[in-house]
């Protein structure tokens, strides 16, 4: 088995210690940092994604795999000055103004991070202009919005209108979620997608960015 395959397997197992150990050995042997990430660590996480989709692996295993990968990335990162870290994409996410619920949103964030996304969490009770500012600052590919209350759902539409007004709408995909939200509502307010749970949200972002 190649060292890269060994590293990918350690990620699949969710074994942070082993991932760090192999990464260090590879660095000491002079392997390229970017190759370690792309051909080792990310390969492992991709395999986890496939097995997850097939129902062979479960959410906690995916989380541990992501943590293990992170352990490896931290060792490699300092040696990559000037090179961009590979990510699946950037997502800005928040619970809209007037709504303080964040369990679902936090699950989405964990799943997205586990799948290699760079997630900017704006927290709860996020006003429209804060979403707009974050899009300007972080240049994400996706904006995610969550609401649990029927009374706060309309804020999602306001954010989409503001993105339009600022000429930012075409630069991002908008994905919404939350208990009262539906596919029909997403279509009605002009969002790009509705995700019923964290798994679907992650899968959808991957598809939208392809």
């Amino acid at each position: 088995m190649s060292k890269y395959q060994e590293l990918a397997n350690a990620v699949i197992k969710g074994d942070t210690q082993q991932v760090k150990q192999i990464t260090q050995q590879m660095l000491d042997a002079g392997e390229q940092p970017l190759a370690i990430i792309n051909e080792g660590l990310i390969q492992g996480l991709n395999e986890v994604g496939i097995r997850f989709k097939e129902g062979e692996m479960f959410v906690p295993e995916m989380m541990m795999a992501a943590q293990a990968m992170k352990g490896g990335v931290e060792l490699v990162k300092p040696l990559m000055a000037g090179t961009d870290m590979p990510t699946a994409g950037t997502v800005v996410i928040g619970t809209v103004k007037g709504d303080l619920h964040d369990i679902g949103k936090n699950l989405v964030i964990m799943m997205m991070e586990s799948s290699g996304f760079n997630v900017v969490d704006l927290g709860v009770d996020v006003p429209v202009d804060k979403f707009i500012q974050a899009v300007k600052d972080h240049k994400p590919q996706v904006v995610g919005m969550s609401a649990l209350l029927t009374t706060t759902m309309p804020v999602m539409k306001e954010v989409i209108n503001a993105l339009d007004k600022e000429n930012l709408r075409s630069a991002v995909k908008v994905v919404i979620g939350g208990a009262p939200v539906s596919k029909e509502y997403a279509d009605e307010i002009g969002a790009d997608g509705y995700a019923g749970d964290a798994v679907v949200a992650t899968e959808m972002c991957k598809q939208l960015l392809n």
């Binding site: 906690p60 992501a66 749970d197």
Partner: protein, 486 residues
């Protein structure tokens, strides 16, 4: 911390107890009274002679069995019967509260998986059921499932055994027409394990035989049993009844009568040969007073098994009951409820051999995908029966402290370490969110089960028979066929 624990009680697995010790004694003594006062009809001459010699009052074919003789024979009957699989591995010790599941035998009808029409069962149905159960992990023993109606009726039992044993390595509980076919069948079984000695050492077959309620022990029923004991083959000797028709309608009366019949079997078995491996119990089903159908999927039936299992444990003898057999004609909501309730009950009681799993229409019709569904139900019941772990690691105080208020447990190592044991996962039951379910073509569990059946039939290879065994079995069947014709 564990080393500081004292006066600590732990129940590792839950246990269902239906009646008190005193009630068990009452049932026991009532059964003894039935045997002593009413007595049993014995149509097997050797058995009758043995009973007479042992001190029973015998008049014509009626034997009254004294209580002391029953107690004596209960002491001789093995409390533990180790059953092996065809490969000689002793996989199914019948002892204490260990629970094993399997189907029943001899379904007259099968719902065809291709046409979805109900038709007469054939040998091929026995082959397919054996293969499916050989694959499914929660079936521990095999019974014939279907009747091989397309074979010569004089030897259809032998055909059924051939079909089973060639398609599964698991232990087999068989039915036979008479003592002669039983002996031929034992010969066939011996051929599959390299001879009679190996079969005696590690028996992988069990005979199912029965007295006829109320209180009749037939020539064939006893004859088949005795034939097995000659070869140290274990025997389930239990009545199948209709409470309200062949036993009293009251549950306690039904159990008392059935228990008397089973105890009479124990007495005859031990008089025939000390230490004969016999299993007690039975099918304690009431009659539906509207349709006269046999009520397998009924609460009374499960309640009766709860008491009968406790009785067997009181005697320290292995027992045989039934669960997962439903009155619903097709595998629908009713079928699921009837199967799940009865299976969970038997699991929590600790019945040893639980048969008839996956039968429809009160044990007359089979549909292979329902076996797959019941495999998931048994899995769920077994999971439930394993109980709740309260060790410090499971109490998770350290983990709660690490996550802290407002945190979440999804990415914590403790979740990663325990979730597979602490959260049961079905294989065929559906838990998708609506959209995911829609994306998967809105399939129902029974659709997935049908796909699984087809997959198993196409791909699964049961453990092969030793060289020459198939030919030897066929030669034995042929021989019996000629003998029966002549």
């Amino acid at each position: 911390m564990e080393k500081f624990l004292s006066n600590y009680d732990e129940q590792v697995t839950p246990r269902l107890k239906w009646v008190t010790e005193t009630q068990l004694e009452q049932i026991h003594y009532a059964s003894l009274e039935v045997l002593e006062r009413t007595g049993i009809k014995v149509q097997h001459p050797q058995a009758l002679a043995l009973l007479k010699d042992a001190g029973c009052m015998v008049k014509d074919d009626l034997a009254r069995i004294p209580g002391w003789l029953v107690e004596e024979c209960l002491r001789l009957a093995p409390k533990r019967v180790a059953v092996a699989n065809r490969l000689g591995e002793r996989v199914m010790p019948l002892e204490k509260n260990r629970v094993y599941y399997g189907t029943g035998s001899d379904l007259p009808f099968t719902i065809d998986i291709e046409t979805k029409e109900r038709r007469t069962s054939s040998k091929r149905d026995v082959v397919e059921a054996a293969k499916v159960m050989d694959f499914l992990p929660n079936y521990d023993f095999i019974m014939s499932y279907a009747i091989a109606s397309d074979t010569n009726p004089a030897v259809s039992d032998l055909h059924q055994f051939e079909a089973m044993t060639a398609n599964t390595g698991k232990p087999v509980i068989f039915t036979a027409h008479n003592a002669e076919n039983t002996e031929a069948l034992i010969e066939m079984a011996a051929a599959c394990v390299g001879g009679e000695d190996n079969l005696r050492k590690n028996p992988y077959i069990i005979l199912y035989s029965e007295p006829i309620s109320p209180l009749v022990h037939t020539l064939d029923g006893v004859g088949k049993m005795f034939k097995c004991f000659e070869y140290d083959v274990p025997v389930v000797y239990t009545p199948g009844v209709l409470a309200g028709a062949t036993t009293p309608v009251t549950k306690a009366g039904c159990i008392t009568l059935m228990n008397a019949e089973a105890l009479a079997g124990v007495v005859m078995a031990q008089l025939f040969k000390k230490g004969s491996p016999i299993v007690i119990g039975g099918g304690a089903t009431p009659m539906d007073m509207r349709t006269t159908t046999t009520l397998y999927g009924a609460p009374e039936t499960s309640m009766n098994y709860a008491v009968m299992t406790q009785l067997a444990q009181f005697y320290g003898l292995p027992n045989f009951t039934e669960a997962g057999c439903v009155n619903a004609p097709v595998p629908d909501v009713q079928a699921g409820v009837e199967a799940a309730m009865s299976i969970l009950m038997t699991q929590l009681e600790g019945c040893n051999l639980v048969h008839d799993v996956g039968y429809l229409e009160g044990g007359k019709t089979g549909y292979l995908p329902f076996l797959v569904i019941c495999d998931d139900i048994i899995d769920m019941a077994r999971y439930t029966g394993r109980g709740t772990n309260t060790s410090p690691e499971h109490l998770a105080v350290d983990c709660i402290d690490q996550v802290g208020p407002g945190g979440n447990y999804m990415g914590h190592e403790h979740t990663f370490k325990h979730f597979r044991q602490e959260i049961w996962n079905p294989r065929y039951f559906i838990r998708y969110h609506w959209e995911q379910w829609e994306a998967k073509d809105k399939k129902l569990p029974i659709d997935l089960a049908l796909e699984k059946v087809k997959d198993i039939l196409e791909k699964h290879q049961p453990a092969a028979l030793p060289n020459g065994a198939a030919e030897e079995m066929q030669a034995i069947i042929k021989r019996r066929e000629t003998e029966c014709a002549g």
